[in-house]
């Protein structure tokens, strides 16, 4: 809860909000000092992302002739920033307000939230893992924060962070070789063997997450932050395949204190493969009964015009503020969250 009244009367929440504003300022300082430029791209998009499980919020723009044009609030600035790479920018970042419908009003979600997303071209996913680590250390040193805090965890982030491949992670927590569980049928078996329910309709991703969320996620990054990387290729529409093993793709996620902070890719820059993947996601949206719209051809054309290797990542700023301030809930770091306005 962070309303005018709480900020006025509760010094703890006031300090949390002051630190939030400082963190935003420090994020900008960090990226400008690393030769990035701050981009500004549209919040409302005619053709938003095709992620099968996200729900963009529709808005109508009405022109003076009373003709209505349907747009959607962005779930991420990803496509727009990639178009800027195609236009020739090499290092861009954007602190963006993003929107996702049908998510919790509080806890670790708010339908309106803030993301810091950045791209390097040329660049790899190893680059943004370094950037993220340096960003946290830069902010923490300026704010004099020795440990990040989440729930009962105190996380040492000022020393080297961990990095582990998803395959090694499954070996460590489930004692299996993920190579043997890359099909829906095999994964179903593994989920059942571990005592969890399987539904006929479960996709590979659903099954993967049933095990991941119950057996792995809550222990990730509780001593120090951890990047997990190289996901099964079927879970990565926007990533490039791994060079040494094309069953996996260059996707990485950051976890701190069991909380998911960021998701990034060694970017897929092949226009044909990208179009194929997005069309596949679109038909999955259709099967799931979600609202659909065409694939953004302008993105495909942009990729076709040529982007060198690129790496990009989106990191949740609200969750980052929770970690730096030790706030208990995302609603404590957002002024007038959706829940605050409804209740």
């Amino acid at each position: 809860m962070s309303t005018f009244n709480e900020l006025k009367n509760n010094p703890r929440l006031k300090k949390v909000y002051e630190e939030r504003l400082q963190i935003l300022h420090l994020i900008r300082n960090f990226f400008w000092s690393q030769d990035f430029v701050e981009a500004e791209t549209p919040i409302a998009l005619r053709l938003p992302g095709q992620e099968p499980y996200l729900n963009p919020i529709p808005v109508d723009f009405i022109d003076p002739y009373q003709v209505s044009h349907k747009f959607y609030l962005r779930t991420s600035p990803e496509y727009s920033l990639k178009k800027l790479l195609a236009a020739g920018w090499q290092r861009v970042f954007e602190i963006s307000k993003c929107f996702r419908n049908v998510e919790s009003f509080g806890g670790t979600h708010n339908p309106e939230f803030t993301m810091i997303e950045w791209y390097r071209a040329p660049g790899t996913y190893w680059d943004f893992m370094d950037d993220a680590e340096n960003l946290f250390k830069f902010i923490g040193k300026k704010l004099n924060v020795e440990k990040l805090k989440y729930r009962v965890f105190q996380i040492d982030y000022l020393n080297d962070w961990d990095r582990i491949s998803v395959k090694d992670l499954w070996k460590k927590y489930l004692q299996v070789n993920l190579d043997d569980y890359l099909s829906v049928e095999q994964m179903k078996k593994l989920v059942q063997e571990n005592g969890f329910a399987v539904d006929m309709k479960d996709s590979y991703e659903d099954l993967f997450y049933k095990l991941f969320l119950n057996k792995i996620e809550t222990s990730l990054g509780i001593d120090r932050p951890i990047f997990i990387y190289d996901y099964p290729a079927q879970m990565c529409s926007l990533s490039k395949l791994c060079e040494n093993d094309n069953r996996y793709a260059q996707r990485a996620e950051l976890y701190i204190g069991g909380l998911e902070l960021a998701n990034g890719f060694g970017e897929l820059t092949d226009p044909k493969v990208q179009k194929f993947n997005l069309e596949k996601d679109r038909s999955l949206r259709e099967q799931l009964g979600k609202e659909i719209w065409p694939v953004d051809e302008d993105l495909i054309t942009a990729l076709d015009s040529g982007i060198s290797s690129a790496g990009g990542i989106a990191l949740g700023v609200d969750r980052m503020v929770v970690l730096f301030t030790g706030a208990r809930d995302i609603n404590e770091v957002i002024f007038q969250s959706v829940a605050d306005q409804i209740n």
């Binding site: 992620e51 049908v102 998510e103 659903d206 049933k210 969320l213 119950n214 879970m235 998701n263």
Partner: protein
Amino acid sequence: MASTSDVRKGVVIKHQNDLYVVVEFQHINPGKGSAFVRTRMKSLANGKVIEITYKTSETIDIVSVLFQNMQYLYKNGDKYVFMDMSSYEQVEMDGDLVGNDAKFLKDGLGVVVGLYEERPVNIQLPKKIQYKVVEAPPAVRGDSASGNVTKEIKLDNGLLVHAPIFIKEGEEILVNTETGEYSARA
């Protein structure tokens, strides 16, 4: 059978033949994937807390719980006694199940009690509760200058909270039960 959309704080779930009351739940969307519900629940048998994450729409065995408006009366040993004001019937709830909420209880407080087979299994507190300040050290000149903008005060049920230095003994204040912190003057 119920599904994850019926999961709320206070509902009772049958999991592997044992009964658990939900103490916390959280919708999560891992890596832009489909939605899951992470549920922390307390065993009705031994008070142990477990965490299970269900896929949204997964079938869950939720047993029926009756939610009743009641008043808190008093503590009896390690049990808490509540009364249904319409029937004047009294119920006793285990301290284990009241948990951390116990510190907010005060004589006559209205709460919602969840009953499973007539046994109280959880309570829901109002978002804000009004208390009378019974002890508040006077503000000292120079407090704000030295950065002491709050002080610890004692409320009429024994609860200690930090409040702004201008709060005096005898005043009525509101406490936010989500954070356990001072909210405003009543």
